[in-house]
């Protein structure tokens, strides 16, 4: 009964739900303007507002970030508080309903449809902590944002990215000895595969790195170390990683816009990556050097 199976070689799991990148990442906060201001400094532009909810869309290149300040209307979801929390990831998939049904059959907790964040019936499941994972299959010519959102008049709907910035991944904090559980979760439900421990991107190499089956997105699972091991288990989506082919150039551009990067003995900007200081009580962005082989610069 040892855990020796080479999961990655099982053909049916190569891309079981036809994952094709990230449609959006959602923050929840009671101070959407403060977070919006931080996102603008990071190069995002507000492009649309939800028709009926307190939800705003920010965009930069291929990246969509949604700020939700609507009060939570179902249990185990993030309630808006002052410090922004990453409350959802929306994965692009071949058939959202099929992916959702499959996840439920495998033992995921579904989000009741009446309380979906957006108007369209976007199927979702519970992820780590109070966060949700949505399945989106309308993202080509006609996206969910074309239906649920009203474009802000006079803005560029597709603002270009600073130095080709794109979503690289998300860092997830997990409890002591919990990384293997989450590896199994992301492997089985979405087809993520584990990257060997000697392959690392950026300047924050700890933990387990998982790559999406579409090879465009990474999840980094980090267990607590030191005294944090004895604290109560706290698991959450901690920060977003942004890929760029030129870390120094991008960091310099962002610094001009008022973003500060950590510069300590252990963590400082190098050609491999950079980490912003914490803003608004904990929001951080990581820059990660990407080259075509990591395929993180997908448009």
């Amino acid at each position: 009964m040892e855990h020796h199976a080479d999961h990655e070689s099982i053909p049916e799991l190569i891309n079981p739900i036809g994952m094709d990148g990230i449609e959006f990442i959602e923050f929840t906060t009671s101070r959407p303007q403060a977070l919006g201001e931080v996102l603008e400094r990071m190069g995002f532009r507000p492009v649309a507002r939800h028709r009926s909810r307190e939800v705003e869309l920010y965009r930069q290149g291929s990246m969509n970030i949604v700020i939700n300040s609507q009060p939570a209307d179902l249990p185990r979801t993030v309630s808006p508080v002052e410090h922004p929390i990453i409350s959802a990831m929306a994965f692009r998939v071949r058939d959202a309903e099929a992916a959702f049904q499959r996840a439920k059959d495998l033992g995921c907790w579904d989000v009741p449809p009446r309380a979906q964040a957006l108007e369209l019936n976007i199927p979702g499941i519970h992820g780590v902590g109070e966060s949700l994972i949505y399945f989106v299959d309308r993202y080509d010519e006609f996206s969910i944002f074309d239906i649920d959102f009203r474009t802000i008049p006079g803005v560029e709907r597709h603002p270009p990215a600073i130095n080709n910035l794109s979503f690289f991944g998300v860092v997830q904090y997990v409890g002591v000895e919990r990384a293997e559980d989450w590896v199994e979760f992301y492997r089985q439900i979405f087809g993520f595969t584990r990257i060997p421990d000697n392959v690392r991107y950026g300047i924050m190499p700890r933990g387990v790195l998982l790559q999406s089956p579409c090879r465009s997105f990474f999840l980094q699972l980090i267990e607590p170390e030191g005294a944090a091991q004895f604290a109560a288990m706290e698991e959450n989506l901690q920060r977003i990683g942004l890929g760029t082919p030129d870390v120094f150039g991008t960091a310099a551009e962002l610094e001009k816009r008022g973003i500060e990067f950590l510069s300590t003995e252990r963590v400082r900007t190098t050609e491999r990556g950079a980490l912003t200081t914490a803003l608004l009580g904990g929001v951080m962005f990581e820059l990660v050097h990407t080259s075509p082989d990591t395929q993180a610069t997908k448009s």
Partner: protein, 296 residues
């Protein structure tokens, strides 16, 4: 003497939930196994019971027990998934990191190992986001897994990191399982060991076993099979078991005796095991972490 590895089972004690928690604590225990009925049967309400447990300062060894979950089809399966979700939510509320699941004795259960494994894997996935582990326990009267070896085979087939085994040493003694059988299982997959003995020299029929299991168990050191029990515990330790031991002493006489007295009997059992059988060392800083690390 380190008691932290041993826990009492609330079902061994009479009285209200609060009385039992207090008795366990006074006897020196730091953990307690909780039955779902303790919480939902609280005379006030579920929330009061949850708060009583959380305020007791005792760690919850696990919540027991989800029964007859695996092997069902169609609407019965859906119904059991709802029951499991409810128990997992309860488990989370009392900050228990383990849900004990007993192998099904339902006559409707499919006994195909692939189907059983698939259902248990689903249960483990339901538990996963909440950080709860599923400890699957074979039962001699089950249709899906009659003993820990059969349960281990299914757990191996399901292959999920938060799915493991609960081993009840009572069952091992009653069935006369040789101690070497423990070598057949992968010890890190053992999430919980339950310890109890009984007075009868041998169990002669399945009916007698069920009756003895439900009503005539005694604490380790009090029964007729101390020698076998201690050999099993030593073997488990030799094989690298670092988890909790829970005294699952279900005894109808003990439920007519003061819980403080029974908790002290449990303490004597922990003393006997710790000093005579295990000779575990005194706790040192980072002990918990070392024990956790030992699970891999």
């Amino acid at each position: 003497m380190n008691f932290n590895d041993f826990g009492i089972d609330s079902a061994s004690l009479a009285g209200s939930l609060e009385t039992r928690l207090a008795a366990a604590k006074r006897a020196g225990f730091t953990q307690i196994m909780i039955s779902a009925a303790d919480i939902v049967g609280h005379p006030q309400d579920t929330e009061t019971a949850v708060q009583a447990i959380r305020n007791s300062g005792l760690r919850v060894t696990g919540l027991e027990a989800l029964r007859d979950f695996e092997g069902l089809g169609g609407r019965m399966h859906e119904y059991k998934v709802d029951v499991a979700k409810s128990m997992l939510t309860l488990c989370d509320r009392i900050q228990s990191r383990l849900l004990m699941t007993e192998a099904s004795s339902s006559t409707h259960a499919d006994t195909d190992p692939e189907k059983i494994a698939k259902d248990l894997r689903k249960l483990a996935f339901l538990a996963l986001p909440k950080g709860i582990r599923i400890a699957y326990k074979g039962l001699s009267w089950s249709r899906t897994a009659k003993d820990f070896i059969a349960a281990a085979d299914i757990v191996g087939l399901a292959d999920c990191p938060n799915l493991g085994l609960a081993i009840d040493v009572f069952d091992i003694i009653a069935a006369g399982v040789p101690v070497e059988d423990l070598d057949a299982i992968f010890t890190p997959r053992v999430f919980l060991v339950q310890l109890s003995d009984f007075m009868l020299q041998e169990v002669r029929s399945p009916e007698e076993e069920i009756m003895t299991a439900a009503r005539f168990r005694v604490f380790p050191g009090e029964g007729a099979h101390s020698d076998i029990l201690s050999k099993f515990v030593v073997k488990l330790e030799d094989n690298g078991y670092f988890g909790d031991y829970s005294f699952d002493v279900y005894n109808s006489d003990y439920l007519q005796m003061p819980p403080e007295e029974i908790a002290l009997r449990a303490r004597r059992a922990a003393d006997w095991l710790g000093e005579t059988v295990l000779r575990r060392t005194l706790p040192v800083p980072n002990m918990e972490r070392l024990r956790l690390a030992g699970r891999h």
